[in-house]
Chain length 312, copies 4
Amino acid sequence: MELTDAQGAEIGAARAAEARTLRPTVPALEALLYTPLPVLDHGFLRVVDYMGDDAAIVQAARVSYGRGTKRVQDDAGLIRYLMRHRHSTPFEMAEIKWHVKLPIFVARQWIRHRTANVNEISARYSVLDREFYIPAREALAAQSADNRQGRGALLDGEEAEEVLRLLREDAARCHDHYLWMLNEGEDGARADPSRRGLARELARMNLTLNTYTQWYWKTDLHNLLHFLSLRADPHAQYEIRAYAEVMLEVVKAWVPITAQAFLDYRLGAVTFSAQMLAALKRMLAGETVTAESAGMSRREWREFMAALGREA
Amino acid sequence: MELTDAQGAEIGAARAAEARTLRPTVPALEALLYTPLPVLDHGFLRVVDYMGDDAAIVQAARVSYGRGTKRVQDDAGLIRYLMRHRHSTPFEMAEIKWHVKLPIFVARQWIRHRTANVNEISARYSVLDREFYIPAREALAAQSADNRQGRGALLDGEEAEEVLRLLREDAARCHDHYLWMLNEGEDGARADPSRRGLARELARMNLTLNTYTQWYWKTDLHNLLHFLSLRADPHAQYEIRAYAEVMLEVVKAWVPITAQAFLDYRLGAVTFSAQMLAALKRMLAGETVTAESAGMSRREWREFMAALGREA
Amino acid sequence: MELTDAQGAEIGAARAAEARTLRPTVPALEALLYTPLPVLDHGFLRVVDYMGDDAAIVQAARVSYGRGTKRVQDDAGLIRYLMRHRHSTPFEMAEIKWHVKLPIFVARQWIRHRTANVNEISARYSVLDREFYIPAREALAAQSADNRQGRGALLDGEEAEEVLRLLREDAARCHDHYLWMLNEGEDGARADPSRRGLARELARMNLTLNTYTQWYWKTDLHNLLHFLSLRADPHAQYEIRAYAEVMLEVVKAWVPITAQAFLDYRLGAVTFSAQMLAALKRMLAGETVTAESAGMSRREWREFMAALGREA
Amino acid sequence: MELTDAQGAEIGAARAAEARTLRPTVPALEALLYTPLPVLDHGFLRVVDYMGDDAAIVQAARVSYGRGTKRVQDDAGLIRYLMRHRHSTPFEMAEIKWHVKLPIFVARQWIRHRTANVNEISARYSVLDREFYIPAREALAAQSADNRQGRGALLDGEEAEEVLRLLREDAARCHDHYLWMLNEGEDGARADPSRRGLARELARMNLTLNTYTQWYWKTDLHNLLHFLSLRADPHAQYEIRAYAEVMLEVVKAWVPITAQAFLDYRLGAVTFSAQMLAALKRMLAGETVTAESAGMSRREWREFMAALGREA
């Protein structure tokens, strides 16, 4: 990830412009503000604004649940209680705004999370930079044999070389042709005065899905945690997970109590079905239980055993 | 509107706890932060947090529309362009959080705006205070004769006296009985040890709809402006409009360029139908147009004439 | 619950107007269509329209997950897999529309579910009927001693009598005064020609929160199930749970496979935190685990034991 | 647009499976149900389900506004009133579900409309077909000189030939390499047994943005009309407008009264700012008004004159 001089100067200026505020402020997040955190080969995440902290979540909860909550529970206990019991509205009271640079195919997964505000660079107005995501060798995996959406063993040798070569060449050639079609020279003049140049909104269709795009993405903490619960999960595609994992680190700096509760009660938690719960009770009573006697499909049984760290 | 000592102390503490931040900061809004702004007889609005300013809206728009926007338009011009052409996403990049005290029947209108985050005091957990909205004499209006949702002439004399007496007495009696049913004494003990006391979640049903409630309400600027376009409108019920008008003043302090654009292109704007536009063109060409020749219903024609400041 | 003659006639007409359609159709739900299902003392639920069935959910999932899903899984297996792994979007492809009559304090809880479409009778336009929710004796409970939002033992004897008397009298008196303030006679004339009558939008504030209101409420199946997971839960207030339980029966008629998966993987399921899961594994290995050695608060430990059907 | 035999058979089966229903039914829409309506070179739109009709909108409005609406207005008058005054909730009571085949760059614009339900074919699970959008000659336009997002004159001659050649070749080559990377043969076996084949979720990044994708898209009528007001507008990119225009024809078949009101009060309407309205009044009074004397920027003045069909 490289920044242009102009971007570097803008970030420097933003980080120099300190002001006084009466709002809740989080020094550990201020320390990260505006600075690009690298993700993948050319991507980044930057926090560009935030609202609220752990205390603001507590304060919103106390509005709802009233005076009583003050006596019985301290702040951490209350946040953990809210997380455990999925009382989600107090977590909606904190908000964060990101600037993200990401490959288009990742952006297409990401945008499915609808409860967020988005401003994406528009290739109807702007010319997209010549930057593509090319997987590192250790991310170049084969299709998983037993999981229709997963990855299996790594590619190696000539096959890996050839895949990387194709990805690089196709992206570069498509972008070269995109620029040729646009026919844009310096200062808006035509590069080749004998040609009109194709409209930007049309030329962009020649780009490949690993081309990088950028957006501002703003969401409340509850919806961010929901995003992370799906995208920081091992089942998520590696490329979006790379973003989610950096975001999770930022959340730890921002709202450490909430982040720990999220790890304990969401990311590290497991949900057992009615059948699994019944089987568990029998197992705890010393009974030997099988998929059949538990009334589970083989697939469910495998998931159940995996959750308990046992062999199916 | 009166604050308890505890509330006053909390606000004082919040206003004393200044911190340094790198975030966009608006001094004119900082000056208002946390302070209750009175609305109606016992209600208030307080800004308890905010994110972004006019410049943040511009910055988000420049991400979308790219380098070109920098050259051609200054910030105010860009914001006005965005507002005029209903490019709403940049306005979603600013956020504000309010603490509101309001009568329940107003809360029921307000909550219909779904794109917001809410934490309301829960009468399942807390005992609601003995405060009711009683309209001022100049708000005590009869049903409008020609508008099914509007108000007409003011009530006066004995009728006004009697209405106010009934509103006061019914609300007070219902709240007295609510407290009696709860049977709550000091420190959670029973007021009358011979009675169990009714569960809070049941007792609350005896309260009248003018009882005050409180909530935290957080929304982005785009949705706030949509709320204001409906609720600061003369057709809105006076009681919710009283809140909207105070909010509009806060918006002017927070994002003055956006606020002015909103007044020019939304609140002060008018939409003409295809038929109205055709009639306008004929009128500008010197023709005399009637409801019939314009193909409008009498109601539309009245609305059209009213928009032009003419008699129907 | 009683219907007026006009309502009865309307329902009869709707049920007589059969048409031919190519859309997915569910005979078991057609049999219920339009008919009011009684809830509480004067409330009801009616299904007034629906879109989709179990097969439509499967079809949407197959669009997403492609040809492969056809081979490996039958419809029920696929629906159960989607529910278990919280693949929620296919369940959004079915939609249902209800007509509900419910007390205002229940409507205030219900409306917090934002992802739905609502048209509520407006007391700015219409006069609300003289119907109030008065709890049955077996719902007249005291505040729970150990749960701030729950109910404890039933009230009995004189206290119960007195509570019911107050609820009845206050609601009736408030409604009487509401009508008096309105001063509406037959056909829009004034009941007492010497008085103006108060605007409807003002007079309504004198009503108590147990007054019945009505609305159309339309939502997709995913959001309906989320509503039911919170409101058909034993922690939900009895009055809203009464509606949720009738809705759940309707869901069983409409999408029986989805309903069963919901019972198994959501309503009957339990989520264990990272700490609980670790404790479980130790318990299954024969170890004796305590709250302390498991790193749980006493409250969490109680919840954990309760989930396993054990004493804390 | 060509359908496979399997798709044709499925559509035939769906259109043959008629059932009886008590739900509101629209014969003109039933006649279109399931049938693909061609858009662009390989795309289509199919209505796969719907809920409600013009009468259902009226019915929902009458719930809100009560008995009074029955007397004063007939159905068409009420729908037109609701549309004119932006009473949007009754239009949310009708719902429609589409199956759409569309180029990825169009899907990326479309998905920005968040209030909808979507199931898109996932290239993590499925192999995308070898179909690309190649513009027709009459859509192959140059960048507009005066509008940063618009199209200007058509390309012609050699430049047009070369652009089309590049679009075709790059898309085809990228898809060929995509298939090579996948290394999928018949029945899941490897095409070349000496190679592992790249995971689908990675290989897809080599595709160009004009590759066709498919999704189910379900939305309520209010949000559909909002989509159409933006996407059937002349400022929308031609490719998404092509879909919007077909959808608008379907809306006319489905809810003809609402569609006409939408054309009159939304698509064909124009909004004048406070300044424009003031200028209009002066012009109607016979005054000569200029941009300067009206307090408008030159851009606004041009927009104002354009709305009135005059030269700036």
